[in-house]
Amino acid sequence: MKAILEIRDISKRFLIQHNKQGQAYMSLRESLSSLFKRNTSTQEDFYALKNVSFNVEPGECIGIIGKNGAGKSTLLKILSRITPPTTGSIVSRGRMASLLEVGTGFHPELTGRENVFLNGSILGMARKEIQAKFDEIIDFSGTEKFLDTPLKFYSSGMQLRLAFSVAAFLEPEIMVIDEVLAVGDAEFQKKCIGKMEDVNKDGRTILFVSHDLNAVQSLCKSTILLKDGQVSNIGKSEDIINHYLHSGPPAGNTWVQAANISHPHFKKLEVKLEGKQPNLKLVINSSIQCFANMVPSYIAYDIFSKIGTPIAQAIPNPEPFIRPSDNTINLTTVIDLEGFIPADYYIDAWLGPHHNETYDWPKECVEFSIVESPQKGRTYPHHPNHGYIVPNSKII
């Protein structure tokens, strides 16, 4: 039997322009003015994907995992023909539907009913097909009562359920799914994963990209690990995920900003653990480069598990306490790690003037590991499936 998808030596190159604020598009004014002055911008090639090849057999369910920036989304975009590869080709021998987002094309002014038809058609369903499945879709979403209400009056949860329901009734031969299940409430997620299993049992092929390693492991027999745009490993899901979890930590306990940045940023970060369980403390030393024209800012540290589950966010001062100046300031933050179970953790540092305005956000830049249990006298191991924090509890 021929493979249903042949991915042959795909590469995707992006040009990074260094004189702009990272925008892909240009303005005519800039293009015109650059005609008249010496071009000062430097271009750099960046390969989001490099020589990726693999085959997918009919009926297979393949998981694609990897860290942020490993090229997962780019691969999905190429597979779903949204963006072309720079080199290489893909042969597809089945009708493909891609779900990079749920509710694509939903319009707030249209009613629930109208949006089901619009969204279904955008996802590739024929009108007759939507008509035939309409009752099932609405039933699955549980929004019968609001069918003729404009979508703008729906709660965000309801919009999401409706969007999922349309997607759940797609029946292509190949289905490409990007982390869409990461949102929505837990019960509905379960329902969707169940639906996906059914779809796979019908002999359809699924490519599933996710950070949720549990979902990947339970749904997909084999998994592809992407690393820096290349296929780092293909094999049985269990083996790949285990390997991924226990591969050497990429971040150390110090991090230094190598690039020259012209806005406020972290220059250096350093973490160390102090104390003993259960009174473990994390000490973060940071150097921040301030600017005279900056808006007063504050900082936050996000703690993640190694598989990307957010655990906690520490905000040492909720007021914008970093004042404009030309100095480099050094801050020491102490975070109580009460109840953290033994595991490896990453830290994202954040600097900005407002919770939705960011100056600098180095991700997964430093890490620490906890080896001791926070619970005295506990002999059995901790498992992330039960959460990363064991809160203090006692019987009174």
Binding site: R95, T104, G105
Partner: protein, 278 residues
Amino acid sequence: MYLCLVEYEIKPHQKLNLGLKEIWLYREMLFFFTWRDIKVKYKQTALGFAWAILQPLFLMILFSLAGAALNIPSESLPHPLFTYSALILWMIFSTGVTTAGNSMLSNANIIRKIYFPRLIIPISSVSTALFDFLMAFIVFVGMLIYYHDRISFELGKFLLVFPLSIIITIVSTFGVGTLLAAITIKYRDFRYVTPYLVQVLMFITPVIYPISIFHFTGARYILAINPMYSAVELFRSCFNGQILDLRSVGISLLSALVFFIVGIYYFRKTEAYFADLA
């Protein structure tokens, strides 16, 4: 049945063709995009579908008053009929070009997430403009009946000339619209240029004045480079009994085709990267 090809190859560079086969495959999506645009456009207004009629109607009243006040000749036709006949045709072009020009940006969230032949978005913009025209045309028929003794109407000529003027309008609207759509997604500040461009074009199209006000006879050949010039003149000639100048019609037809080919060529050439730019 799914709206996509069963077997295909994804390659770095696509060959340049119209992709009509694929557009036909995605015809239902085209229908839904047009349906959405029409529905949303009129749902948001208190006046609903009346809006499609009121827009050209108000402009017609304004221009006829101005025309009468400034003593602008309207060639044998009554002033309201003279301006309205040009306006409804002109509005296909102006709304079509403006919405098609912005369509890649206003649908960026869909372009970034789903594949489909990108051309169906400007096609749906032009179709929406044609729908407005149909609405406004109903009023036009009413006006023709009201002024029936002041127009010269021949059915044979109408059946020949009217489709030609509509075809020139659609072809040039679509050509200019797709060209602007592809430029606007790359150069974002171009969206501020589009309205000016459309406005300037209106003044070199004989919407509110007749071509006879130019004493220089070569003027019409220069003006005919703007395809809407002949579209308007052709449409009006159905009612004012004027004899057509075939040479200027030919120039307009040629220019409409050039816009069409250049627009689609540039659009197809750059569309693969729209998702990266959007």
